[in-house]
């Protein structure tokens, strides 16, 4: 574990037990999350982003099987922890913000109750816990926080709920925050203010953030580095600027061909690419992107590409960039 990484995922393999056999949702995933940095994780629907997040949090579905790999938080491999040990880290050293702000708060408990409940590790009075909650709501710019603590989730707008969720996640000043499409459900203006807020708080607290999104514009705006996933594999990783300026993987290139600024604000989804995703149950022997790749050539259908360093990117998985593959 390099000291500057808050979190490091190493060669992670996760599959789901499904009726047809094993769905290999994550294969040889590597992810570096440097201390205090915001790391973007991008990929189209079904590529395994949520699976990765759930595995990091130890909240995977019962159908998920961890085949191999490590998730290092400091010197601890989270995958070796027992549930109780993992619970001790959650909401303390690792926190999370989820996609759907309408559903991620309890509907029958007040916001104040939920915000004091999560401070169960602190040996302070209810009064002090409440004060901390008020302070945190102020930071996420909820007006009149003292009285709003006694309200229920349905009394807040979607944007406010997501800010409350962020306030809750950052209250414990975690080392790592995992945010799974936290702004996808919000409209464009709210998305921008929420992202500004998140960045301010992140600089304040100094935590690292894994930011999962479909929205390339947000990555460019917010993240120091970016990781591109495709069909359960990490296909390219590197500093945001370098990857955006000169994408090394044909998939990344296709995504960015469409200038992020030109992605219609209405949909804000990744541009669609022709062709179909490979089956994750019966994987092709070669590159997973071969079926849709405009630059596919000789080895692509037969041989699985290695990880190589290329251009400004730290890692790319493509025969085109592999100096040992005859072009």
């Amino acid at each position: 574990m390099s000291v500057q990484n808050a979190l490091e995922v190493r060669d992670l393999n996760i599959s789901y037990k499904v009726p047809g056999g094993k769905l290999r949702a994550l294969r040889d995933i590597n992810l570096n999350v440097p201390r205090g940095e915001i790391v973007g994780l991008v990929g189209e629907s079904g590529c395994g982003k949520t699976t990765l997040m759930q595995t990091i949090l130890g909240l995977q579905s019962s159908a998920a099987v961890t085949e191999s790999g490590q998730i290092m938080l400091g010197d601890t491999d989270l995958l070796t922890l027992r549930p109780k040990q993992m619970r001790n880290l959650l909401g303390d050293r690792i926190s999370a913000v989820f996609q759907d702000p309408m559903k991620s708060l309890n509907p029958v408990l007040t916001i104040g109750r939920q915000m004091t409940d999560i401070q169960f590790r602190h040996n302070i009075s209810q009064r002090e816990k409440r004060d901390r909650a008020v302070e945190m709501l102020q930071k996420v710019r909820i007006p009149d926080p003292e009285s709003r603590l006694d309200q229920y989730a349905f009394e807040f707008s979607g944007g406010m709920r997501q800010r409350i969720a962020i306030a809750m996640a950052l209250m414990a000043e975690p080392d790592v925050l995992v945010a799974d499409e936290p702004t996808t459900a919000l409209d464009a203006t709210l998305e921008l203010t929420t992202i500004d807020l998140l960045r301010d708080l992140q600089q304040d607290i100094g935590c690292a953030i894994i930011f999962i999104t479909h929205h390339l514009g947000v990555v460019a705006e917010l993240c120091q580095s970016v990781n591109i996933m495709y069909a359960g594999e990490m296909v390219e990783s590197g500093p945001t600027r370098a990857v955006f300026d000169a994408p090394q993987h044909p998939y990344t290139e296709l995504l960015f061909n469409c200038d992020p600024a030109q992605i219609p604000e209405r949909t804000r989804h990744l541009p669609t690419i022709g062709g179909e995703l490979p089956s994750l149950i019966n994987l092709p022997p070669g590159c997973v992107f071969e079926g849709r790749c405009p630059k596919a050539f000789g080895p692509c259908a037969e041989i699985h590409p290695r990880r190589v360093q290329s251009g400004g990117s730290d890692m790319v998985k493509c025969h085109l960039r592999d100096p040992e593959v005859p072009q």
Binding site: L57, L59, R87, N88, L89, L90, G91, D92, S95, A96, F98, D100, K103, S104, L105, N106, P107, V108, L109, D117, I118, F120, R121, Y152, F154, E155, A165, M168
Partner: protein, 314 residues
């Protein structure tokens, strides 16, 4: 939201009115002349005619219905055709014993039902879950009076643990004698309540707010009791409201089998002796009780929802 309460209340009143009309028509349609029954086979025709006139039995149907309603509104359920006592007094004097029985049955159903429901949701697919799923199907398909007879045979007659007949006197004796009949009515509901609760707990466990609570490291117990049960309990309250109605109707058998006084026994005896005013009065009081219980259950469910409370307070 206030509209919901008004609608719900009107619905309850409507149910009571419909039951009153149905009861009235039913007594009308039943073969056998109530006047003859009341006076006995040896009464002469003149006496019967006079009785019919006094009771309004010679009036047209609609007038009789109208009279029936107006006297009901005055709290007059008529007079016992046999003893001549006011029906309301007789029925109300029998009500407490039946209410104790229903209360006992609710306790028998609720406490193990809730425990089993929580445990089988918490350890889904485990041994408790499987036992409770088999139990709920098998016990639910046995009628209450069959359970009652078996309980009686085994625990009173064979083992002699419980007295077979009567409601007893004094608190402990009454409680002792309440055990078997309560079991007879309540047992069938344990599995049902457990299944309903289990299903709604599991559904709620999939909700986003539970995932959030877990992501903050809250313990599974805390999540179950503070975050999930508050919501998952609601369908069960509604079901229990309906269950109490079922228990009331099963109470007839339980009271007869265990020789307990109560509304059920009263109705049973009244039917045999064609004492219609008692039957009508008892069914009516029971219906009103059932309607009130259901109304209370629905209002409780609504009130437990903070959104409803919020809308009401505005």
């Amino acid at each position: 939201m206030a509209l919901y309460f008004i609608k719900r209340l009107l619905l309850s009143v409507l149910v009571v009115v419909i039951v009153i009309v149905a009861l009235f028509l039913l007594t009308y349609a039943i073969p056998g002349d109530p006047a003859r029954v009341a006076l006995g086979p040896r009464a002469n025709a003149e006496l019967v005619a006079e009785f019919r006139q006094r009771m309004g039995l010679d009036q047209p149907l609609l007038v009789q219905l109208y009279n029936f309603f107006t006297s009901l509104l005055r709290g007059d359920l008529g007079r016992d055709a046999v003893s001549g006592e006011p029906v309301l007094n007789t029925v109300l004097s029998q009500l407490p014993d039946t209410l104790y029985l229903v209360l006992g049955s609710v306790i028998v159903a609720l406490i193990p039902g809730v425990l089993l429901g929580i445990l089988s949701a918490r350890y889904r697919g485990g041994i408790i879950d499987r036992i409770s799923s088999v139990l709920s199907v098998s016990v639910m398909s046995v009628p209450a009076f069959v359970i009652a007879i078996y309980l009686l045979l085994v625990f009173s007659i064979q083992l002699g643990w419980f007295p077979a007949i009567g409601a007893g006197t004094g608190f402990w004796d009454r409680l002792h004698r309440l055990v078997l009949p309560s079991l007879a009515l309540g047992l069938a509901w344990i599995g049902y309540i457990a299944r309903i609760l289990r299903a709604s707990i599991l559904e709620e466990m999939n909700e986003g707010h539970v995932r959030t609570a877990r992501a903050f490291g809250l313990s599974e117990n805390k999540i179950m009791f503070d975050y999930v049960l508050r919501i998952a309990i609601l369908p069960m309250i509604t079901v229990l409201g309906i269950g109490i109605g079922q228990m009331l109707s099963s109470a007839v058998f339980a009271e007869v089998v265990f020789g307990r006084p109560g509304i059920g026994k009263l109705v049973f005896d009244a039917i045999i002796s064609r004492n219609y005013p008692i039957v009508t009065g008892a069914v009516l009081v029971t219906t009103i009780f059932f309607v009130i219980v259901n109304l209370a259950a629905d209002l409780l469910v609504a009130w437990l929802n903070p959104k409803v409370r919020h809308d009401l307070s505005r």
